[in-house]
Symmetry: C2
Subunit: 314 residues, 2 copies
Amino acid sequence: MGEFDFIARHFRPLAGEGAMELRNDGAILSLSAGQELVLSSDTMVENLHFLPDDPPETVAQKLLRCNLSDLAAMGAKPYRYMLNVSVPPGRHYDDSWFGRFASGLQADQNMFGLSLLGGDTTGSPKGLTLTLTILGTVPKGQALRRDTAKEGDSVWVTGSLGKAALGLQARKNRLDDPDGTLTQAYRVPTPRVGLSLYGIVNAAMDISDGLLQDSGHIAEESHVSITLYESLLPFSPAVRRHLEQWRETILLGGDDYEILLTCKAEREDDLQKHCQLNNVAVTKIGMVTAGRGVTMLDTNQQPISFSRTGWQHF
Amino acid sequence: MGEFDFIARHFRPLAGEGAMELRNDGAILSLSAGQELVLSSDTMVENLHFLPDDPPETVAQKLLRCNLSDLAAMGAKPYRYMLNVSVPPGRHYDDSWFGRFASGLQADQNMFGLSLLGGDTTGSPKGLTLTLTILGTVPKGQALRRDTAKEGDSVWVTGSLGKAALGLQARKNRLDDPDGTLTQAYRVPTPRVGLSLYGIVNAAMDISDGLLQDSGHIAEESHVSITLYESLLPFSPAVRRHLEQWRETILLGGDDYEILLTCKAEREDDLQKHCQLNNVAVTKIGMVTAGRGVTMLDTNQQPISFSRTGWQHF
């Protein structure tokens, strides 16, 4: 199976307008007047970001949805994507695997309204490596940013926290996940595309590296301090039941792909109404103050100190 | 060295407008009215597309220039790029290596007028994997394509052929390259950006997979036949001296990154004048006729049959 056949079979059916059926080295993209493009890119590597025995459909969906989440965090609408695939030798990643991989992409293309624009296919010395570069559109000047949190804002998060971090542990057989919801959350995140929070929130980003670390990004880049309250954090029942044993995993864990927001007091009602209209839970979890860094307070209002290294810069 | 320090040290200095200093997961891009975006992406993998002891500056330049060549083939002007880097464990790809890699990118950013917009950094189980997605601009509707060659067009190529294919053999110590020009051509191609051939040529693409295979793409996608004349092919003296011994390598070899063009008779003068103005050699090497596939005729006007498999579809 040559590169051209491989592309024709699996990826051509995913190609949309401007992709020229993937027959060209380049693709062409137009923008409506008054629109800007938002771009983001994520690379996923076998055994680092997914496991070889994960269902191919969910590997595809995770790859696409991590990127969709970056668009969601900036308030952009999904438009197109580029896909680069480096395939290791061996029989595991065969036609059947890529057929299922492509069907996962197709399902999410339909759900989120975007199409494949181009990319590249190469070999890999070891491990499947996948890079997806996503393009979204946003009205000019209306992209949400992470460096615009203001003193006095409250801090909010969509959905609930910790499911994906526990799902990874469940995948490694370190905890039980009787109905599979944790594993599913790890494999197929729910990007919060479709919210229109420009003019309502001051700052936004998605939680991919964990609540504490990503709050740190907002704090650092907005030159403010953030205080989070453990007692306010939203957990699903499946997560809450593991909270005692896996507290640090849940509080530091990544892969949630929820949106972390800061909002001034006068717009809190609008934020809640807008999220309710879109069937997205949103919870106030902290405050933005003057200063630097992130502090998480436990139920006794004492700062929690975490054991993991790498957090000193908070 | 964490991911954030790594990015800050090596890649932040390369970031341009819209990249938000690489502090955001996404980047923002505007387009002037009347412009379209041209996108292309190439992945390069250690030992497949470059060798671990290649100078890091030239690895960076090859990665960027392969993509620049795709823009050149479509008549687009370089604008921005996304860079994804998957770094294997071990000491080889250290701070010093990436410092030199970034300086190669910086030199080419200055030369070709583009800047870094975003990307991602991950680990790799084995082998450095590099993906670069390039964005260029072109006046609306003026991108050159490969599926628009017409019966009666002549076929042209910029520069000269075979240097890079021989350079790869020289890298493997299979032939001598006393002044290093062949090796240099393999390591650092010269993308033909800056030509404005819209309205002059009918079809264009860059030669990355080899003259014969890429001519086949134009033929297949334009639904025409292409005849090439070996006696007309432009070779540099360094290539010509190896022609007898390495004929098939030279005729089939890739990585030239020259532009293959088709042009109707009435515009041949304009093509030659435009290329001369831009100090780019351009040579007529064949004809487009009705039919299918590509034929290369030797100096006795006999079709050359090549030993390599995979060419049957011509």
